[in-house]
């Protein structure tokens, strides 16, 4: 058993130009260079990506699901942020 486990990295892949990088999964690597190469071999064996980001998992801050009701509460009562909130006449075809 090795004394020290390789750190965990999260992998994000852009499937083609024009699209966001999207979380694909995670893997262990000794450093970022190795993480990129491993991510290429593990997550893009069938040309699933044109660009890869890796970041050590410990650097990610995440919201707490136990608090998500309170955390996302501010947006709940603001239906006027959606286009369907507004009363417009039927004659108005495109807007």
């Amino acid at each position: 058993m090795s004394a020290e486990e390789w750190p965990l990295f999260e992998v994000f892949i852009r499937s083609k130009s024009g699209l966001h990088h999207k979380h694909a999964g995670s893997l262990h690597a000794a450093d970022a260079t190795m993480a990129l190469e491993n991510a290429r071999d593990v997550y893009t064996r069938r040309q699933e990506g044109v660009s890869i980001w890796v970041v050590e998992s410990r650097h990610i801050s995440a919201s707490d699901p136990a608090d998500s009701d309170a955390f996302f509460e501010p947006a709940k009562d603001k239906i006027y942020r959606h286009p369907t909130f507004y009363d417009l006449p039927d004659e108005l075809k495109h807007m």
């Binding site: 486990e5 390789w6 999964g25 893997l27 000794a30 450093d31 071999d41 997550y43």
Partner: protein, 315 residues
């Protein structure tokens, strides 16, 4: 919140087909069941590379060799997706590997059978991967998000595995009488162990009921086994080889094939470590792990030196 209340909430989410994510509250037994199942699945992918790795250097053509190599590489990838999914439940990779190497964790017993001819590469792809796909497709809808997502990726990649196996079987069964006999022999040896892959009969299966309630499993072992038999019989007819079961016949009333009794004594013997290759597989795994130790250490030493250098440059 009281635990009962949390548990009610949890089951309601599951019933509503909502997914459970790593940081969500979950019952300890749900977590443990998942760690056991996902890691067992990951170990199976990794150990599953061994019987096929045996034939990479002896594949009959370059085309077959490239395909087999790609398949074994996929299995390494699938093992990694699954280990990562298990780790989101709070268990470390080292612990998981330790459990495999000490024999505490199980892997699919099918990989404890030897691959003695090239036709076995065909039979494994066709039957073993076929059975695995039957198991895995419903797991794409498992209630635990990271597991389900890993399974989606795996299922997408796995379909080539079954097709490459079937193609090997087809080539052999359309070949010389000797080649056809090889295909038949491989089917004879792999048929029953493939049926055992679905696990004990429902009445004997200790985990099924709870796993179905938690939507980790969507079908019982016997349901999946029946689906597999129904799908595979017509494929054997296309190949023109005979499934080694005198009791196998279409049951008009049930709308399914009836099949003979499985030798569960053999199954439990292999699970307990007495299969033809249990010891060989474990030794190969442990050897690879131990001989890779210095590589892992050297990579860490290099990485820490590099980051030290970077710090000095900045300072």
């Amino acid at each position: 919140m009281k635990t009962t209340h949390l548990e009610d909430n949890f089951q309601q989410k599951i019933d509503a087909e909502e997914r459970i994510e790593p940081k969500d509250w979950m019952p300890e037994t749900y977590r443990k069941t998942l760690i056991r199942q996902i890691s067992q699945h990951a170990h199976s992918e990794i150990v599953g590379m061994l019987p096929e790795g045996n034939w990479i250097t002896r594949a009959p053509t370059l085309r077959r060799k490239a395909a087999l190599l790609a398949k074994v590489q996929d299995e390494a990838g699938h093992g990694l997706y699954l280990y990562s999914a298990a780790e989101t439940l709070g268990v470390s990779r080292d612990t998981l590997l330790d459990e495999l190497h000490t024999g505490k964790a199980k892997y699919s017993s099918i990989f404890n059978y030897p691959t003695i001819s090239w036709a076995d590469m065909g039979a494994i792809g066709w039957l073993v991967d076929g059975a695995a796909i039957m198991n895995q497709v419903p797991l794409c809808r498992a209630s635990y998000g990271p597991y389900a997502r890993a399974m989606v990726r795996i299922c997408k990649e796995e379909s080539f595995h079954q097709r490459q196996g079937f193609e090997i079987m087809l080539t052999l069964s359309k070949g010389t009488p000797v080649q056809k006999a090889m295909a038949q022999d491989a089917l004879n040896r792999w048929w029953w162990p493939s049926l055992m892959m679905f696990g004990p009969n429902d009445a004997e299966s200790q985990h099924t009921e709870q796993s179905v309630r938690w939507k980790i499993k969507r079908f019982t072992n016997d349901e999946l086994r029946q689906k597999f038999v129904d799908a595979t019989v017509p494929q054997a007819e296309i190949l023109g080889i005979r499934i080694p079961d005198p009791d196998l016949k279409w049951n008009e009333e049930r709308g399914h094939y009836d099949f003979g009794a499985i030798n569960w004594d053999e199954f439990w013997q292999v699970v307990k470590g007495n299969g033809p290759c249990n010891q060989e597989r474990m030794e190969a795994r442990v050897k690879a792990h131990e001989e890779g130790e210095w590589v892992r250490e050297a990579a860490m030493a290099y990485a820490s030196k590099q980051s030290q250098k970077l710090k000095e440059q900045v300072a």
